[in-house]
Amino acid sequence: MADVKKHDTPMCDELKTGNWPSFVDDLEQRGLAGKQECLDLLGQLELSYKHKETHWKHGGIVGVFGYGGGVIGRYSDVPDKYPSIAHFHTVRLNQTSSKFYSSAYLRKLCEIWDYRGSGMTNFHGSTGDIILLGTKSNQLEPIFYDVTHQLGTDLGGSGSNLRTPAGCIGKSRCEYACIDSEAICYDLTQTFQDELHRPAFPYKFKFKVSGCPNDCVAAIARSDCSIIGTWKDDIRIDQSAVQAYVNGELKPNAGAHSDRDWGKFDIQKEVIDLCPTKCMWMEGKDLKIDNRECTRCMHCINIMPVALRPGVNTGATILLGAKAPILDGAQLSSLAIPFIRMEPPYDEFKDFVGKIWDWWMEEGKNRERFGELMQRQSLQKLIKMAELTPIPQMIKEPRSNPYVFWSAEEVEGGWERDVKAFRSRHAA
């Protein structure tokens, strides 16, 4: 056993029981196997459990040469007690598109991290990065050289720059994928490395790519630019498989409800009545869909994946502006482009991104997210700056207030008016 010091952590220890994987046990084992950082972290966490307060200082600015992000500086405010974690910076790495790795890759990563860091990680961070949790300032450059040269992997984002894009598993494993979310995620990450590493934005910016409206990467809630697969043609129907569901030969929702007796599958109640647009009906044994009325919510497809499949004329819906509540309140992304082809090299999409970034970099205030700019300057402004066409799909409903802006050019006779002429018709 290595030469390490274990702190007394009675409270943390209570988190060893129960069935869910215990990070305490994991850390303790790793610590006892030679990583003092893990034990010191548990020690400091125990102190936090006692004080009910964090023991990390306000982050300092640290990083690697030439990059404006990728490292989060962190220092303990009780360094004397836990010296091995006095410096405890995190390093963010670009994850792979759908977070597949080889064992060799992981092992190499572990070697690097055991040598240069705490041995603790987050697989993965909320944005999607691989998070290497805790190292010292003097290790940052070596880590950078290690991961680039020896792991073929670059740093992720932090600060006012693009963050590592993320996507769902998409075509690797999912039959619903209308776009190649992994390839798009890869392409955007590569294309925008400069934006990722050298902060030039008013604030952070995130891309997320989901292959279909189920949105398994939470793009609509968590990315400034949400790319979500969809289709324009008809849902593909295999009527015999529909019957197999009706007859109970196939399990509804692919078995997602297997541990409770919900009664016999009822296509009317469980599919047709729940369709939000009520655009489905049975005609004898055939399931019919009025596809023009369908809003592609995925429900019927989710319920009967063997019988129904998205159409084949596919592309993406682009929505903009999602963010957490700071400062103006949380936003979901709002529809900007109802349908755009997403085939490499994605030029049309990238042109669009260029336009919205130009606008934001021109007009965005310091620490103003893209969604806040949209709110402050209006959807009309977005439409103008991104050269979009206003369409009703962009809104939930038309405005109810009458406070419409007009420009002089739109109004017959313009805005030049003559007080005298007015008063000649109307005595004051």
Partner: protein, 417 residues
């Protein structure tokens, strides 16, 4: 080679990350940085903007062969999904819970399992679960048995299988007291406590629909709890301290002042002991809503306080576009004290919401859809959650949450009228 991968390669030229095993398979050279890096010539030997390796190389062979060709799937048991391809091939995905905060040793163990059963491939989901892929029923059973046997010394599972279908899957969460400077609560500890308690819903399909739980340790909401079925949110309740002594040294005062969304911070001058003047700020405490944005901008304005900080619970959010549109989570419990190490009250309250929902909602109905269908008055009644004025919006778009109809239900709240 695979056609798809060839096409991808063509698109990106001979990008560094396209032949990843060549790089990876070289042994780790600890001294490489010191050989390559010279602080005086930092650009020398520096490799930048390479991005991540191309994902395709890491896919298991069956997935490489069937990329883009999957036809349908079936969840054969909680945590195990069988995929069928147009080519006729099949693949089983096995999903395991994970603490997310994991050590290199645990990652090595994962690598070992991947080597043993999965041609060395493994992945993580968007909710931080681990997924292994095998091709045959036989491999599947062997893998499951293996996973089942792996426990931590304290008895917890290393790789609990579940999280598919109508279940509670992994809790998306954040750093908490393990790494961040602004948290009002811990993250990992709360998640462990809640998941231990809800474990029966993780490895079964007995809920009306999926229940997605998220945790964020402060209002920055890195866990993106704003659209979760159940959200556990760390909140402060005491206004920031102002450290007059060091504020000018560590903050740009105008930035601190501008940071406050409610305009609660104003700059002032105070007399120093030496008879001079010193600039600092004051907080109009009545206007403070404890968002912490001032502390983000200024280290001399800490909010954290053992008594002041705790948990708020929000419910009813969702992300998918299935049936109903994505929704925000709504604040139903404004405060529960921090109770380390197992956050008993929080755990109890979350379980209660899950159980009341489970017993009352329709099949396929998400928590928020259920609450909206029965009405929020009924939600509070059924869950026995006291309604407080804290649940009433008073921020920017508050008017849109006012109740502008006579349509409401009688409930425990009106029974005495």
């Amino acid at each position: 080679m695979n056609e798809y991968f060839e096409q991808q390669k063509e698109l990106y030229g001979d990008n560094y990350g396209f032949n990843i095993s060549e790089i990876i398979n070289k042994p780790y050279d600890k001294d490489l940085p010191s050989k390559l890096y010279d602080p005086k010539k930092p650009m020398q030997n520096r490799m930048t903007d390479i991005g991540p390796p191309h994902f395709f190389q890491f896919l298991p062979p069956v997935i490489q062969r069937n990329h883009g060709k999957w036809k349908h799937h079936e969840i054969v048991q909680p945590g195990v999904i069988k995929y069928v391809s147009e080519t006729g091939e099949t693949c089983f995905a096995v999903r395991c819970g994970s603490a997310r905060l994991i050590t290199t040793d645990l990652i090595r163990e994962i690598a070992e399992i991947a080597d043993k059963f999965c041609d060395g491939s493994v992945r993580w989901t968007t909710r931080n679960n681990i997924e292994f892929h095998v091709e045959t029923e036989g491999q599947l059973r062997a893998l499951l048995d293996d996973l089942n046997g792996r426990k931590f010394p304290g008895g917890s599972s290393k790789f609990p299988v579940g999280g598919t279908g109508a279940s509670v899957t992994n809790i998306v969460h954040t750093q908490g007291w393990v790494h961040c400077h602004t948290p009002a609560i811990d993250a990992s500890g709360v998640v462990k406590a809640v998941m231990d308690d809800l474990y029966e819903y993780f490895d079964s399909h007995k809920l009306p629909a999926q229940v997605r739980i998220a945790l964020a340790c402060c209002l920055n909401m890195c866990g993106a709890v704003h659209c979760s079925d159940i959200a556990i949110l760390g909140v402060h309740r005491k206004p920031p301290l102002v450290e007059d002594d060091r504020i000018t040294g560590v903050c740009e005062l105008p930035l601190a002042v501008a940071a406050c969304p409610t305009g609660a911070i104003r700059p002032i001058s105070i007399d120093t002991e030496s008879g001079g003047k010193k600039k600092t700020v004051r907080v109009n405490e009545e206007k403070c809503m404890f968002c912490g944005n001032c502390y983000t901008m200024c280290p001399a304005m800490p909010l954290a306080d053992g008594e002041g900080d705790g948990v708020a619970i929000l419910v009813g959010g969702k992300i998918s576009n299935r049936i109903s549109a994505p929704k925000f989570s709504k604040l139903v419990i404004p405060f529960i004290p921090n109770e380390p190490p197992r956050w008993d009250s929080t755990v109890k309250i979350v379980r209660n919401i899950v159980e009341v929902y489970s017993s009352s909602a329709n099949k396929y109905e998400r928590l928020g859809e259920w609450a909206e269908r029965i009405g929020w008055e009924r939600f509070f009644e059924k869950c026995e959650i006291p309604f407080t004025e804290k649940s009433i919006d008073d921020y920017r778009l508050a008017y849109d949450t006012y109740h502008t109809t006579t349509q409401f239900k009688w409930s425990i709240h009106t029974d005495n009228l």
